[in-house]
């Protein structure tokens, strides 16, 4: 399995990285907090850690630590607009349940 980006998401990440002026890719991860147990994290990456797993999707380096990968393997990251708001969205096949807000989930 792997982590992929939609074309829209990839172009956005590319733009944000260019604007930031530094960074080698995008880190996806999970943290064990939130109302349903786990929450997604999304961060710029300046340097990888030795245990990191790196995928490449549409020209973007996607970096994940192995512990997080278990929960989000197969995820497709999308960029969406909802009304005036816009941002990234995890389409995660492992999710059983989400909290109302969608910021945390259980597997």
């Amino acid at each position: 399995m792997a982590i992929t980006l939609t074309e829209t998401a990839a172009r956005r990440v590319e733009k944000f990285l260019a604007n930031r002026g530094k960074g080698i890719g995008l880190r996806l991860g999970v943290k064990t907090t939130g109302c349903s147990g786990m929450a997604y994290t999304l961060e710029f990456v300046d340097e990888t850690k030795p245990e990191d797993i790196v995928f490449e999707s549409r020209g973007i380096n996607v970096i994940i630590d192995p512990k997080s990968l278990v929960y989000i393997d197969g995820t497709e990251l999308d960029f969406a607009k909802e009304g005036l708001n816009e941002g990234f969205k995890f389409n995660n096949p492992n999710v059983k349940d989400e909290c109302g807000c969608g910021e945390s989930f259980t597997v």
Partner: protein, 621 residues
């Protein structure tokens, strides 16, 4: 499903803990709100896709309020109840605002700040501004999907205390937490990333709707210092409109016209001006309420001729600001253009000619201030790592702590720029002292009782040592929000104690002014009080030390010698309560002198003890 933004490495927020912060440019003509998403500063649009919100507030007969384009459309219909350019009146009294006859409002002269009579009652400029801010706040919360942590609001560099306070009050009235008021030129410089650029002098030329503001900034070590500001608080794009308006009246040979027609023609004038930024001719047509018809063509050459004196009026303050900063045109590293009026080609040309270099214009001059404010808000809300902090504020009153005898020891002097950290070492006063009380105070006075007490805390668990042997490092740290934290740490054992205080809360501007005033007035008596306290502390320390020595090594003294020392001690003790600083000082000297022989004998004894039983060659000499 919530939409996520990319955070800085290690800065991901927990769910529902995102710190949503915005930058707001509360402009004379237009206002904007911007935020940083995935590391990028962007202006937030309304549902119709407008970035700008005209700073126009219309009070309707049914009691409701319109803000922005819908209000702007009412300018010519209902001029008395449609407030434009309210920023000009922020924190101003009626006498500060010249030329009220030209404006279509009924002003009410109230103490402090004028008010405007509308059909919804008397409105202060603060209330009118709050209406604009409310709309921006709603827009931001919709776009970001949550409540705002806070906002950075920009103000012109020349805004005085009353005007800044009025801006803060308007924000509070709109339900916004003000993270900071930021000077507009600094915001513009930040938007251009000049804070990351090479060090040097930058000029911010800001020709907005109603104000002209030129600022000379020096960037050094990532910090902007405002070297000089100048400007004209009654010169802006509106004046170009008015100039065209007067030209229309002349050309169309119109009689004096009513307020509705005035607004209508002013709107037409503005449209013609904007059109001429990328066209050479603009047609102005209108049918007035009076039945008069206007049909004119304005060329860009004519506009240039009409407004040349206005542009010259911007270059004079620019020249003055440079002179105030002691700089020449050649010293300027870059020029940032701010404000919609800088879109006019003749303005750009004039500036390029003056500085002998092309100004920076690649960011939208209407948005650049809001974009910079958003970057600053993002930092202040804590979404960036610490070393990205940007400083742009100073401490209004010194921060310090209480030392023996109720004296103030200043740790961070007033006017220090934020954020700042300062450490100072203190020691124990008594032998075997294991705790220290730390009293944090704010103010300029020498005696703690005259300063404002901020917090008290204790450092416990100091290892038992002789007086003066412990090294206690007290660190004062004030972050970009003005939040003070004080840490005390005993260096040898590492025991530590910590407290966080918010100094600016609870002190009004007036109180700050009063405290400063009294420190100037009281400087002399404070000095004497300080000298006396210091003498007393010295005396007490000496008495303690001698008493300890006497109980330990009293047998080294003959009875008469001991008596003599005890008499000197008694004299000093009496003087401590009644004498002045000189008398105490002299008595301390006398006691020191009286115990010299005793001290020498003690030294001999301890050296002899240390050497007893050791062979000469084992000693490290």
């Amino acid at each position: 499903m919530a939409l996520l933004q990319i955070a800085e490495p290690g800065m991901s927020a927990a769910p529902h803990q995102h710190k949503l912060a915005v930058g707001i440019d509360l402009g004379t003509t237009n206002s904007l709100v911007a935020t940083v998403r995935s590391g990028m500063s962007t202006v937030l649009h309304d549902e119709e896709g407008h970035a700008l919100l005209p700073s126009v507030v219309h009070y309707l007969p049914d009691g409701s309020v319109e803000v922005g384009y819908t209000a702007q459309a009412q300018q010519s219909q209902d001029p008395h109840n449609t407030i434009v350019s309210v920023k000009r009146f922020m924190g101003r009294g009626l006498k500060d605002v010249g030329d009220t006859a030209q404006l279509p409002y009924q002003f009410v002269d109230t103490p402090g700040m004028l008010q405007i009579q509308t059909r919804a009652g008397q409105k202060s400029p603060v209330e009118v501004s709050a209406e604009i801010l409310k709309v921006l706040k709603q827009r931001a919360e919709k776009a970001l999907g949550g409540e705002l942590t806070g906002a950075v609001i920009t103000v012109p560099a020349y805004f005085d205390d009353a005007q800044r306070q009025a801006t803060k009050d308007a924000a509070r009235l709109a339900g916004l937490t003000v993270l900071r008021l930021l000077n507009e030129p600094t915001a513009a410089a930040v938007a251009y990333g000049l804070d990351n650029a090479s060090e040097g002098v930058y000029v911010i030329y800001d020709l907005g709707g109603g104000t002209f503001d030129v600022s000379i900034l020096r960037l050094s070590k990532g910090v902007f210092e405002v070297l000089a500001t100048n400007g004209d608080s009654a010169l802006g794009g509106d004046d170009f409109d008015r100039r065209i308006f007067c030209w229309i009246l002349e050309q169309a040979k119109l009689p004096p016209i009513n307020p509705e027609d005035t607004r209508l023609l002013l709107t037409k004038s503005r449209e013609a001006k904007e059109w001429l930024s990328d066209h050479t001719e603009a047609r102005i047509t209108s049918i007035l309420k009076s039945g008069d018809l206007v049909d004119l063509t304005l060329t860009s050459a004519k506009l240039k001729e009409l407004t040349q004196h206005l542009i010259t009026k911007t270059l004079n303050p620019t020249r003055k600001a440079l002179r105030d900063a002691g700089l020449a045109v050649e010293d300027v590293k870059g020029i940032v253009m701010v404000g919609g009026a800088t879109r006019m080609p003749q303005v750009r040309h004039a500036v390029a000619e003056f500085f002998e270099q092309d100004p920076l214009t690649n960011l939208d001059p209407d948005k650049v201030v809001a974009l910079g404010a958003a970057i600053q808000a993002n930092v202040l809300a804590g979404n960036r790592s610490e070393n990205d902090l940007l400083l742009l504020d100073v401490i209004p009153l010194s921060l310090g702590l209480e030392t023996m005898g109720g004296l103030t020891e200043r740790v961070i002097p007033r006017n220090s720029t934020l954020p700042i950290a300062r450490a100072q070492d203190f020691t124990t006063f008594k032998d075997g002292q294991t705790a220290m009380s730390i009293h944090v105070v704010q103010g300029e006075r020498e005696l703690v009782s005259d300063c404002r007490s901020l917090a008290r805390f204790e450092l416990r668990g100091i290892p038992s040592m002789a007086a003066g042997a412990a090294r206690i490092r007290v660190t004062f740290q004030v972050d970009a929000d003005g939040l003070l934290s004080v840490t005390a740490r005993e260096q040898t054992s590492g025991v530590e104690s910590h407290i966080t205080v918010k100094p600016s809360y609870g002190l009004s501007e007036d109180e700050i002014a009063d405290m400063l005033q009294s420190s100037f007035n009281a400087a002399d008596s404070d000095k004497q009080a300080r000298a006396l306290q210091e003498a007393r502390v010295d005396a007490e320390r000496l008495l303690e030390a001698i008493a300890a020595a006497l109980s330990q090594d009293g047998d080294l003294l003959a009875e008469a010698e001991r008596k003599q020392i005890e008499t000197s001690m008694e004299q000093l003790r009496n003087l401590m309560n009644s004498g002045n600083s000189h008398e105490i000082h002299d008595a301390v000297e006398a006691l020191n002198h009286a115990t010299e022989e005793f001290a020498a004998r003690r030294m001999d004894t301890s050296v002899r003890k240390a050497l007893a039983g050791q062979k000469l060659n084992t000693l490290e000499l």
